[in-house]
Amino acid sequence: MRAPSSDLFSKGCTAVAAAVLMTAALSLPAHAAGTLNVLTWCDHEDPSLLQPFEAADDVKVNFKDIGSTADALAILGQSKPGDWDVIVLDETDTGRLERMGLLAPLHKADYPFSTIPAAIANPKLTSVDGTLYTVPEKFGYNTVAFNTTAVPGSAMANIQAPWDPKYKGRVAVYDYYVPEIQYAALALGLNPDKITPADFPALKAKLLALKANAAMVGDVTTVQQALTTGAVDILVGGGEWVTAGIQADSPNLTYTIPAQGGIRWQQGLGIFAASKNKPLGVKFIQYILSPEGQAKLATSSCYWGMPANTQAALTPAQKADLRWDNQPSYIRHSFPYIQMTPTLDKQLQALWAEVMQGK
């Protein structure tokens, strides 16, 4: 048996130290001049979206993928103030991040609010006490997506359809509890903007009935897979984010907003209060809100969604896939995510857990 030589030992230590340093370096934002550090969702990561901005301003966008605002908070907790410049967020979290002192105030005049529909520019989602903190960039719906070869569109115009025993075992439910609980509220004739604990027993019963009729409840990938493979015909919580990007391959998949209404998701961009790169952050948001940036963001390879700016440079075919002409009606008939407080969030999550455990 040979003992390890001291040379081998020192080489090993060097290799371990180098690996540790490289890992640490990769997880930190870059600080080179002309670098914008962005915490972003997957739909902002296409090179075709970022390259025109990088080329025009001679900058590098250093992005870190996040799946939720909670992911962003976890990363911020391990970073120094000023490490990150821009964040993509679910606009229902604007108030939450502002209360934590994380967001910088923005100037409305810097952004094309005149071409953003009023309901999307809603200050309830973008502002706190009259001050703008996030700019809406993309939205869509958590309503019902379905397979037109198996389910008639006319039937899906009624929000109660997924509860119909006729479709037992052919329904999938998206597992994000906020829009699903709000959707059940709509089906009960309640105002999804004003859910209180008094509504929970009825909501629980309605959601349990939906679960009993459904084949499965699952995350984004699982429910998309179920709908596209034909394992289910109806996806409650689905929308253009499931069907629009795959119209060429699956023209039989579509979505609608029932007569009783639907739930609307909306994402926006904000600049961190501690950012040392605010002017570049403003330029980035302006680029994303430009007609060119909006078209690329709306048709991202990760998922499609409606651009907030009505001037988005989309082709007629892309507009058709996104149901462009239906948008005024869809926006009128849909409700944004409920304004969340930590207490309400915990209550809704506990309600969802009870539904998932229920038979």
């Binding site: 909670a70 439910v173 509890y177 084949a215 499965m216 999550q349």
Partner: protein
């Protein structure tokens, strides 16, 4: 003058102790600290309190998730052990020595695929439009697709496929360490094949069974991927509940409290199996 030197055993154990201290004890202590400071109304850690633990036990759906995790783990341990034992025994005792490596390679082949990919592969096979239903329909054995996926049984199936191989390896390793002369001596003294197996081979292979069972408990009770992909949320397991705390709210105190409960369960399993192993050696 006398010089005090640390015992040689301690010096040799120091790297391992440091490793365990840095990468197990310190993280566990951090989690304990987090779990005792529940989030306040602003979302910041509040004062020292057991509120998250009491909130956990006050919510029946959360307690049910804990119970579901324990039941699922016990089912998986029982079935995978029962299936793995004869498989391992066949490889160790029946398959000729020169083919044993090949048999083991075949057994561990599924491990070459990513865990997530393997779970999705099972979903594709078990779903209503999957290969299993298509085959049964083509053979006219069923009239309409059966729901093999999206339920707790599918989760257990996915787990068993994975842990069957793990248990096979640990039991095989244990069986090959048994001196074959013990069984030969028993047979010479007139014991039947079954009696020599029950009285000699099985007791001596218990350490391998226990190691496999413990590894299965550790990996199964904390697994998030398989129930998420195959389970269809028919019932929640505790790891899924932990992810719910983190994904939306970043409620690290509640997630830590739940994770510590899982750690306690694993520790209890270790104590139980350790005791059993000692008894087996008597």
């Amino acid at each position: 003058m006398t010089s005090r030197t640390p015992p040689a055993g301690l010096i040799f154990a120091l790297p391992a102790l440091l490793w365990v201290g840095l990468f197990f004890l310190v993280p566990v202590l951090i989690m304990v600290g987090y779990s005792l400071h529940p989030l306040d109304q602003s979302g910041a850690p509040g004062p020292l309190s057991l509120a998250d633990y009491t909130a956990f036990f006050a919510e029946p759906a959360y307690v049910q998730a804990l119970i579901n995790s324990v039941i699922t783990t016990l089912i998986v341990v029982a079935i995978s052990t029962c299936l793995a034992y004869p498989f391992a025994w066949c490889i160790a005792c029946i398959v000729p020595k020169k083919y044993q490596r090949l048999a083991l390679l075949a057994a561990i082949l599924p491990f070459w695929t990513s865990y997530v990919v393997r779970s999705y592969a099972w979903l594709l096979a078990l779903s209503p439009v999957g290969a299993v239903n298509k085959a049964l329909l083509a053979l006219h054995l069923i009239g309409h697709p059966l729901m093999f996926a999206y339920n707790p049984q599918a989760t257990e199936f996915g787990f068993i496929h994975f842990f069957l191989m793990l248990n096979t390896l640990t039991i095989y390793a244990s069986l090959t360490q048994i001196n074959p002369r013990y069984e030969l001596a028993a047979r010479d003294l007139g014991a039947s094949a079954w009696r020599s197996f029950v009285t000699i081979t099985l007791p001596l292979s218990i350490p391998g069974v226990a190691v496999g069972a413990f590894l299965t408990i550790v990996l199964c009770i904390g697994d998030y991927v398989t129930p998420q992909i195959l389970g269809g949320f028919r019932e929640l397991l505790l790891p899924q509940l932990i992810m719910m705390q983190i994904q939306r709210q970043l409620d690290l105190p509640m997630a830590s409290a739940m994770s510590l409960l899982l750690t306690v369960l694993v520790a209890l399993a270790y104590v139980a199996l350790q005791r059993w192993l000692r008894m087996a050696r008597l």
